[in-house]
């Protein structure tokens, strides 16, 4: 299979994951969206040396993975490209910040190391949370709930069309690379001399397709307004879920669970 085809399949798999059924999938998108935002804010708000305070927050994604039936491996597989980038952000902290922060079994651990780990964890947690949101909520429902939260129509439409457009572009690329390789057997990748025309064609073709798709939408009555998936009502169950999440996040943020537990054992 073509590399692009594979990318395409992966993209479609997100839609399929989101179409599954589980207690989490059945929650209102708005509740999930708000909970995710709250989670990300909580994660980001931890101070840079507060590694021990941050670690317990892993519980929420773990719980969601369990409840939604989405394999953790799928998450890390899909995020394999972004994860290293996010992790790389704090890589230089240990070089700049060498002041010892704490002693661990006689070894001095520098502030830089701790802050690097904290930063990495923050990145991973936020990515996991966003992935879980996308994997349990169809994009249409997500857009519908964004609209309900009064995010401007233009932005939401842009988001949705970008999501779809990535698919269009990848598909064109898949077709073109196939066509190229059929006539250049045994060649690895695309010859440098052909890049210019290849990219130019790709752009033109995906623009053409985007144009046609847009016409097709207009012809079927599209008016800067999408009819998203049927609106799932915001029920008591959803409110309960949201409140529970918010409560837990606040607890994890202000009560130092790790210290508390540590205190139990040390004393």
């Amino acid at each position: 299979m073509n590399k692009m085809d594979k990318a395409l399949r992966e993209l479609a798999e997100m839609d399929e994951l989101a179409a599954q059924d589980s207690p989490i999938h059945r929650l209102s998108p708005t509740a999930k969206l708000l909970a995710t935002i709250a989670y990300i804010i909580t994660v980001v708000s931890f101070r840079k040396y507060d590694l021990t305070g941050l670690v317990p927050l892993v519980l929420w994604p773990v719980l969601l993975f369990q409840l939604s039936g989405i394999p953790v491996s799928t998450c890390f597989y899909k995020l394999r490209i972004v994860l290293p980038l996010v992790m790389a952000v704090g890589l230089f902290n240990p070089l700049f910040d060498r002041a010892p922060l704490l002693q661990l079994g006689g070894v001095a651990v520098s502030g830089g190391l701790v802050s690097m780990l904290t930063l990495m964890l923050k990145g991973v947690f936020c990515l996991m949370a966003s992935f879980l949101l996308m994997a349990t909520t169809p994009i249409d429902c997500l857009c519908a709930s964004l609209r309900k939260l009064r995010v401007p129509k233009l932005l939401v439409t842009l988001l949705l069309l970008t999501y779809r457009y990535v698919g269009v572009m990848t598909r064109e690329l898949a077709v073109m690379t196939d066509a190229y390789h059929l006539r250049a057997p045994g060649q690895k990748g695309i010859q440098f001399s052909a890049w210019g025309s290849f990219l130019g064609q790709l752009l033109l073709r995906s623009m053409d397709r985007a144009q046609e798709l847009y016409s097709s939408m207009l012809l079927r009555g599209y008016h800067e307004h999408f009819h998203y998936a049927p609106d799932k009502p915001f029920r008591e169950k959803d409110a309960a879920y949201l409140l529970l999440c918010l409560g837990c996040f606040a607890l994890l943020r202000y009560v130092h669970i790790a210290q508390l537990l540590g205190g139990l054992f040390v004393r």
Binding site: D15, E16, G167, E212, L213, L219, H223, H225
Partner: protein, 240 residues
């Protein structure tokens, strides 16, 4: 009613694609649009839909196709694109099918009912929840036709509806087109299908209308067809 009055159009300067085109299609009529590759069939349809703007007048039910009237006109016309890939933009067949009816303010229940009826009629109920990129070319074509039928437009324009279809589905589409009460304009190289579905045929060449005659008559005219890079339909060629 669809009417073209002296329409001219060119994509690029000095290379006219449609030249002084005039014709008229009455309500409920089934008209075939034939001509060689590049003759201008798809362009004619796009002009009618207001996707392209040319010179001259195009009328749909006596309303001129202009920017201001587009919404009103497009509501009446259903267009099956030559390339189904470009028509289907939602993740699943079902979502694509409900797109138009919902945009036109139909209720969910009514839409559901229509969708199921159309799928049933085309015998593709099992495609309903399938992903658009995971169905075959012919299945996609059937789905594309279904999305338009679910719109229940006053007139249906089809650009090569039978391409990519197996004989059975082709027959199904032919029967579907034949049973329709709406005005139909069908562009195709499948002259047998045109003969089966249309009562009248427009023949274009280089953007000009060369002939406008009853299907039975025009499609038997070997000399005329061959002069325009076409051939007699198979079913007639055998006999003649």
């Amino acid at each position: 009613m669809i009417e073209f009055q002296h329409v001219n159009f060119s994509y690029e300067k000095d290379r006219p694609v449609i030249r002084d085109l005039s014709f008229r299609i009455a309500d409920g009529e089934a008209v075939g649009l034939i001509g060689a590759n590049g003759a201008g069939k798809s362009t004619i349809m796009k002009l009618l839909l207001g996707l392209l703007q040319g010179e001259g007048k195009i009328l749909v039910d006596d309303v001129e196709v202009t920017k201001a009237n587009l919404a009103q006109i497009r509501r009446k016309l259903g267009f099956v694109l030559q390339n189904s890939d470009n028509q289907m933009f939602m993740p699943t067949v079902y979502e694509d099918m409900i797109f138009a009816p919902l945009n036109y303010g139909l209720s969910r229940e009514e839409t559901e009912r229509r969708v199921d009826a159309v799928l049933e009629r085309l015998g593709i109920s099992e495609l309903k929840q399938r992903h658009n990129h995971k169905i075959s070319g012919g299945e996609k074509r059937m789905a594309a036709i279904a999305t338009i039928l679910a719109m229940e437009p006053d007139a249906v324009l089809m650009d090569e509806p039978s391409s990519a279809l197996d004989p059975c589905n082709r027959r199904l589409v032919i029967n579907t087109i034949r049973d329709m009460k709406q005005t139909r304009l069908i562009a195709s190289h499948d002259l047998d299908m045109i003969l089966d579905t249309c009562t009248r045929v427009l023949l274009v060449n280089g953007g000009r209308l060369v002939a406008d005659a009853p299907a039975e008559e025009l499609l038997r005219d070997r000399a005329l067809l061959e002069a325009n890079r076409l051939e007699l339909p198979f079913c007639l060629a055998g006999r003649g």
